[in-house]
């Protein structure tokens, strides 16, 4: 196991180095830059000179390879630079503010996805080729196919405007405030016993989490259903039934055997979950990592985009690693080891 983790950590470093290289140069190849956008218009008599002066002060007039090595050196010291557009705010501060929100939203969305996906998949698998199965499959297909932007706006119109159960957007009722502990609003509200704020955060998160959750639960339904069907026809399941085990106990055993594959899929879907937040967080004015990234890309805020992409990549790699480890723990047939060809 230790070998496996060390081996993967080595691979991770190589991947991260590649990501820094790609993101840095891709941003520079893309048309437009933050200073050009800032100085695109304005009532400066000599806007060209003003812009050139500002660029020089930020070091953006230096050769690209010099800028890249400065960026790389900074990252090694865990300094991700300062935002050009947001008055020099450190990128790490911005990430520290956004990341806890995205983590909470993703966990909530994951829970919603599982709460919907598990019963639907079980029903589909147990009642294969019936109307229940076809309904479950159709549900999964719709979940995967609906554009999340449209789905989000529809949920808002139904459940926030016409039947006002949930707030339209935001993180917290503007009358309330939360004492910062971890930066994750729901967790902080619970930790400080601020139940009114906790309830408000939960209500604000529900519609974005539902939009995000239904988007990914379709795939969970399909994977879990297939795994359950595979297990369902195994001899040991027939043996359980022959021994007179209740159907409930049989399903529990089936789930236990189908879970490893599903766990891997959940791990692999973390990336999709995070990319889904780019749209969802912007729609619902929920300032997490996706929101931060899209704002930074639009403004060509190089340090922020670079920092967020590198950190998100590290997170996705870590999530996949965790999924592999959990898979290994759940399924004794899987052996985790490092090195060449000895897996």
């Amino acid at each position: 196991m230790l070998n496996f983790i060390l081996h993967r950590a080595g691979q991770t470093l190589i991947v991260l180095f590649g990501v820094t290289l790609i993101i840095f140069f891709m941003l520079r190849v893309m048309p437009g830059d933050p200073v050009a956008l800032m100085f695109a218009e304005g009532d400066d008599e000599d806007i060209g000179a003003a812009r050139a002066e500002f660029e020089r002060a930020l070091g953006l007039d230096r050769p690209l390879y010099v800028q890249y090595f400065v960026f790389l050196g900074d990252i090694l010291r865990l300094n991700f630079g300062n935002s050009i557009v947001r008055g020099g705010e450190p990128v790490l501060d911005m990430v520290a503010r956004a990341l806890p929100l995205t983590i909470e939203l993703s966990i909530y969305a994951l829970l919603i996805a599982l709460v919907i996906a598990v019963p639907v998949a079980i029903l589909s698998a147990l009642k294969q080729n019936t109307v229940w199965d076809r309904g479950g499959t159709a549900f999964a297909l719709i979940g995967v196919s609906l554009p999340s932007f449209w789905q989000g706006i529809m949920l808002v119109m139904f459940f926030a405007v016409w039947i006002p159960i949930f707030p339209v957007s935001g993180v917290l009722d503007t009358r309330l405030s939360i004492t910062r502990v971890t930066g994750a609003p729901f967790t902080d509200a619970v930790l400080t016993g601020n139940w009114e704020a906790a309830w408000s955060v939960l209500r604000h998160m529900t519609l974005p989490a539902l939009t995000l959750g239904t988007g990914i639960c379709g795939q969970f339904v399909r994977v879990l259903r297939s795994s359950l069907l595979e297990v369902k026809h195994q001899d040991f399941i027939d043996a359980f039934r022959a021994r007179g085990l209740s159907e409930r106990a049989v399903v529990r055993h089936m789930l236990h055997n189908a879970m490893p594959t599903t766990a891997v899929i959940i791990g692999l879907r973390i990336g999709a979950l995070l990319s889904g937040t780019i749209v969802i967080e912007t729609v619902f004015a929920y300032p997490g990592m996706g929101y931060l990234l899209i704002q930074a890309i639009n403004a060509r805020d190089f340090p922020v985009v670079q920092g967020v992409v590198v950190l998100l990549t590290a997170m996705v790699i870590a999530a996949n690693l965790m999924a592999d480890i959990i898979h290994g723990m759940l399924d004794p047939r899987v052996k985790l080891s490092g090195g060449r060809g000895n897996k």
Partner: protein
Amino acid sequence: MTERNLYGTAAVSALAMALVLSAPMAEAQERTPSGTLTIGWQWDPSTMDPQMHRQRYTQIISHNMRDKLFYQEPPGLTPVPLLAESLEQIDETTYEARIREGVLFHNGDELTAEDVVFTFQRLWAEETNSPRAGMGNMRNIDSIEAVDRYTVRWHTAVPFGPPASAVVGLHLTGQEILHKATYENLSMEEARTHPPMGVGPFSFVEWVPEQRVVMDAFEDYWQGSPLVERITWRTIPEEAIRVAELLAGSVDMIFPVTPDFLGQLQSANVKLEVVPGTYMRMVMMNVREGSPFHDPEVRRAMNYAFDRQAIVDFLYEGLANVNWQIPGSGQEGFIEGYVPFSYDPDKARPILSQITEPIEMYVESAWELPAQVVAEQLRGYGMNITTVVLDQASFNARNEAGEFDLLFAGGGYGAGTFLGAYYNNHFDCSRFESNRIRTGFCDPELDALERQAAAEADPVLRREYTDEIVRRLTEVHMPWVPMFSPSDVWAMQPHVEGFAGSSAGQFFNMHEVSVGN
């Protein structure tokens, strides 16, 4: 003294007097603020330091907490004294402003000339590296000094003209005044998030980045206490969600509102505030050799080609002004009643139908719909036009590099000026030195005339020169087809009273707004 100097001095005095006379009256009224106003708008301020950004929206937040020496009064966007009582020209390169007495900062300190001097010195300091330092003509200011407790003097390297134009050059409408005692001890990093201290109508309560800014009424505000007790500015980037928030009653006002949602809002119980916009849309043509639009006759035909009124009526529900000349309505240089072209397909067709090569017209995603209509109108003449949608950064890059034949572009004139920065940015040949090619248009003769107009103290002559520049640009050179300026639209609950929209300040009179909640 020559006759011309005499005339100039008389004009200067008259203008100084006019500025004094038009100063708003500071009648402190007994008013008790009540209620909360929640505004849902597209943006989040990028910093609480008013000298470290170039965004209109960050400035709106800032100037609700910190007043400036002058402000632009709608609808004409004329600079009007605010914290200043007057601006006088002492000699060709010296200007003096008298500031109001008895104006209090949020902590109770009185505003003095030292605060004004500190504000500008901090702005220009090399270590500040402010992106605003070169605004107006501030790069040509030699120094600033406090003459006495309430008098500030600027020394400029070149003449800035009469006070009415010097206000713009000195950038007195664009810089919020800082509290020296607070800011002189703050590092740049600290100033970024430090609670703003100013003499504005509202005092800072909290800023939750990307979520909200909250400010409370400052009851000792020199123009009288605001009517509303608290304003919460909520960041809601998506317009559909802003509209939903307004319909759900969770915000009192939203901005901006585009034509896409006007119908929905008009059928709901919602008030709309509409003011003429200061952001003109135009079709920019590449005038350089090799482009089909190099020929002035083609550009002339383009000016006859579009049914602008149809676009305004059907896409903008009538909430836009049709433009026929290079400056927009309300902008300096705009010639009342000057309509050199008309919608005349018969004049456009014979020339435009000859252009059969494929042409791409670039547009930002936010303006795709009108651009598609414009392209379709051109296709009606037999032209082979494709619309290419770009994000703002890519679009700007292409505009600056001059890599286009047609560009469905925009130009903001919130400052209200035409001579100086606006002209330099779009038309002056000197822009090529900093690789801002744009249409490729350049006429040194016109540039000389522009400099002559900008330096002219006599308002009649200045107007004459400006008219000449505008007519030559619009009718002879024609690098643009002026199209329309969409109105600025705010939507609000019926209980919001007293709000007056302004396309320049946008939220300039918040202390006069009241709510019935």
